[in-house]
């Protein structure tokens, strides 16, 4: 039933968007879709017995467990904020002619479809079904990147599609292996995650390693993990900022979610002894590459995009430790990173409108007088930057702190390396802010910069997200913690 409710809301939204020609109406539809989705998710979390299995009659294709619900909640919150942000942002794109009026409908249709497909992906019990929805998220989000139809956007979108889809084919071969593994063990093959989890302990470790490695290639590309991260900075920097927030805050989670699901199966076999070090290595390399690429970065959106790569690395390292505590804080980190990164992209989007270079969206930003021209966005970057490098009282402080503690218990040398890399990343952000935010024109000299009139709808989401982060960081709500514990239990860590 609940799944049908999700579908119904989306179909209704699509119909209204198809019928209207007014930008504000389309936008309102998107906001309400996200809010309705969020309400549904909260309703399930509060009033239903999770995991829900019985909402599509006798179906083994969909289910709702705590992990899926958790991801859906994050996704809907960010989509709602991004839709509010898009209200002012897209209006600006229309006025400047960067987005054609004819593409407007396509933009919002893709938006609604993207949220629907993402939710369906998180609620899939069948791994092959999840794979297909994840593929669709790539295609639809690539459309949202290419919508500006400037050559560099199309380039970035095509690179994204090819890197992600080619790697996802490897993931599919991995799933074929998994199917075969279960067929050898159970008699009939299945890709149903719940069933696989029940019988995982008896799976052959040799084939499990092959299967996980292939699946990992696919979802690593989806979540921007080294060496498959090459598409990420370009796509995230060139997409419209409302879309960048979704790409970073929600779509990267799809990849990590896939890795976590399959890792939970591997974790019950002896293959974990080989696989945990492997993903730890990839995690550390990812953090390292991201941190070093951040240092010389002069473009704010690219800088923020690389910081996403870095955070994906942290999650992988946390996952590789594979203790229940580490997994708990990895999940917490997923939530904290999504919210922080979305707010950062919102702020960066405002600065991008104000200071972007005329020629290319990944050239250096010419930021001047930022506190006079865009005070809110400047503070957004400042506070968001503090949040993303893990300063208390923001939530990332806790997740990084506890993941590092757990890592220290495994190996002090690795901990030292990771800490140095994290410090480099933080320094890169700090350096950017210090050098560019202090550029001030002397009072009295004429300035040729025309202030960008930031609409209120672009400011509200930043404030909401930062406030939410502070509240979560200070209170660490007990209900949420219990929820995360449920996930850890369901993943059998």
């Amino acid at each position: 039933m609940i799944l049908i409710a999700f579908m119904l809301v989306s179909v209704l939204s699509l119909i209204i968007i198809a019928a209207t020609r007014n930008h504000r109406q389309m936008n309102t539809v998107c906001i309400s879709q996200a809010l309705l989705f969020a309400t549904l998710a909260v309703y399930i979390a509060l009033f239903q017995q999770v995991p829900v299995v019985s909402f599509l009659v006798g179906s083994q294709y969909f289910f709702i467990d705590h992990l899926g619900l958790f991801e859906v909640l994050i996704a809907t919150i960010i989509f709602a904020c991004a839709a509010v942000y898009a209200r002012g942002y897209v209006e600006g794109l229309l006025e400047s002619g960067e987005l054609e009026k004819g593409s407007l409908k396509l933009f919002y249709v893709a938006w609604v479809l993207l949220l629907m497909v993402i939710v369906l992906a998180f609620l899939s019990d069948n791994l092959a079904l999840f794979w297909i929805f994840a593929e669709l998220t790539t295609i639809i989000s690539a459309m949202l990147i290419a919508i500006l139809s400037a050559r560099e956007n199309i380039d970035a979108a095509i690179k994204y599609i090819f890197v992600a889809s080619v790697s996802m084919l490897f993931a599919f071969v991995g799933f074929i292996f998994l199917f075969e593994i279960s067929r050898v063990y159970l008699g009939t093959g299945t890709l149903n995650w719940t069933v696989l989890m029940q019988h995982a302990a008896g799976f052959s470790p040799g084939m499990m390693i092959a299967s996980f490695t292939l699946v990992f290639i696919g979802f690593a590309a989806k979540s921007g993990i080294f060496p498959f991260h090459t598409w990420l900075p370009e796509a995230h920097a060139k997409a419209p900022s409302a879309v960048s927030a979704i790409l970073s805050g929600v779509l990267l989670n799809v990849g990590i979610y896939g890795i976590i699901r399959v890792y939970a199966i591997v974790h019950q076999t002896t293959a974990v002894a080989t696989i945990a070090p492997m993903i730890a290595v990839f995690g550390i390399l990812t953090i390292g590459i991201a941190a070093l690429s951040m240092l010389p970065q002069k473009n704010l959106k690219k800088l923020v995009a690389f910081s996403s790569v870095e955070n994906m690395g942290i999650m992988l390292v946390g996952l590789a430790i594979s203790t229940p505590v580490a997994l708990f804080w990895v999940l917490f980190h997923i939530m904290a990173h999504s919210l922080t990164k979305a707010s950062l992209f919102f702020s960066a989007g405002i600065l991008h409108r104000q200071f972007r270079s005329r020629f290319s969206s990944d050239a250096a930003d010419e930021i001047r007088d930022v506190f006079r021209l865009q005070p809110l966005a400047a503070w957004g970057i400042l506070l968001g930057g503090l949040a993303i490098i893990g300063m208390p009282p923001f939530p990332i402080f806790f997740s990084e702190f506890f993941i590092m503690l757990q890592l220290g218990a495994v190996s002090l040398e690795v901990l030292a390396v990771v800490l140095v890399l994290l410090f480099i990343a933080a320094a890169a952000l700090g350096y950017f802010v210090l050098t560019s935010f202090t550029q001030v024109t002397e009072p009295g000299t004429p300035s040729d910069i025309i202030p960008y009139q930031t609409p209120v709808s672009m400011k509200v989401p930043i404030v909401i997200l930062l406030a939410l982060l502070v509240v979560i960081g200070i209170t660490l709500p007990a209900g949420g913690m219990a929820f995360l514990n449920q996930i850890v239990m369901e993943l059998k860590f």
Binding site: G97, E98, A128, L129, I132, E135, L136, I139, A142, M143, A146, S149, A150, R151, E152, I154, D155, A157, I158, I161, F162, S165, V166, L169, F172, V173, I176, F177, F179, E180, R183, V184, G189, L191, S204, G206, M207, A210, R358, F359, S360
Partner: protein
């Protein structure tokens, strides 16, 4: 019923056909023929699926054959050929890192490596019989060869063909290693069609020589830089 030995012989011949088509896609510079060779490759897959069906009698294989025929032999090649006419590119002579000869040598080496790897991985599963094992090796090889095309060619439209031939490899692998439920195969085809449509439309933007497209780029000041350089 047809004799099993004959069917197995036919499948072996079709295997050879697949290798030839893959080698051709990797090495040719003529864009128009790449599309027809891709259609031929898909047709070979249909043949293999039918042969396997007559061997095993599973209806899923028949369904796969039908869907593959409709989508990959007719719809997708037709669509790409139409687009190619529109953008008026006949030859793709730009290669990124690899030239055709090196690619061919590398793909031969890849096949050996895959063979050795699969001997280890598939130990103790029913897929170890020789015919099925070769199918699996060939599937993965085809996939990697397609990947080389995707990453070594510059034109987006050739990249699409590389990707499509990768997907053929996955299908081949799936057919020989295990029996996937039909619904999954079907959804993959849908995914493939959407992907092809989107990328080809986007590549019209990149590859095309159409006048109006350049006008639009001018409006966003995106061409100025390039022209200054050239």
């Amino acid at each position: 019923m047809i004799d099993t030995a004959i069917v197995v012989g036919i499948i072996r011949i079709l295997f050879v056909c697949i290798i030839i088509t893959a080698a051709y896609i990797i090495s040719t510079r003529n864009l128009l023929s790449v599309v027809s060779v891709y259609a031929l490759q898909s047709l070979t897959l249909v043949g293999i699926a039918l042969a396997l069906w007559s061997l095993e009698g599973s209806l899923v294989l028949l369904a796969i054959a039908v869907v593959t025929f409709v989508s990959k032999v007719i719809i997708i090649p037709y669509f790409i050929a139409t687009i190619q006419e529109k953008i008026r590119i006949k030859r793709d002579i730009e290669f990124h890192y690899l030239n055709p000869t090196t690619s061919l040598l590398i793909s031969m080496a890849l096949m050996l490596v895959i063979y050795m790897a699969l001997v280890h991985i598939l130990e103790g599963t029913p897929a170890r019989e020789s015919l099925f094992f070769f199918g699996a090796v060939l599937g993965i090889s085809l996939m990697l060869m397609g990947m080389m095309v995707t990453f070594s060619r510059k034109r987006a439209i050739t990249k699409v063909l590389g990707f499509l031939s990768m997907e053929n490899g996955v299908l081949l692998f799936g057919m020989f290693v295990t029996e996937l439920p039909f619904i999954i195969e079907f959804l993959i085809i849908i995914d493939l069609i959407i992907l092809v449509i989107l990328t080809t439309i986007l590549s019209v933007g990149i590859d095309s020589t159409l006048e109006d497209y350049h006008k639009r780029l001018h409006r966003f000041h995106l061409l100025e830089e390039e022209e200054e350089v050239s």
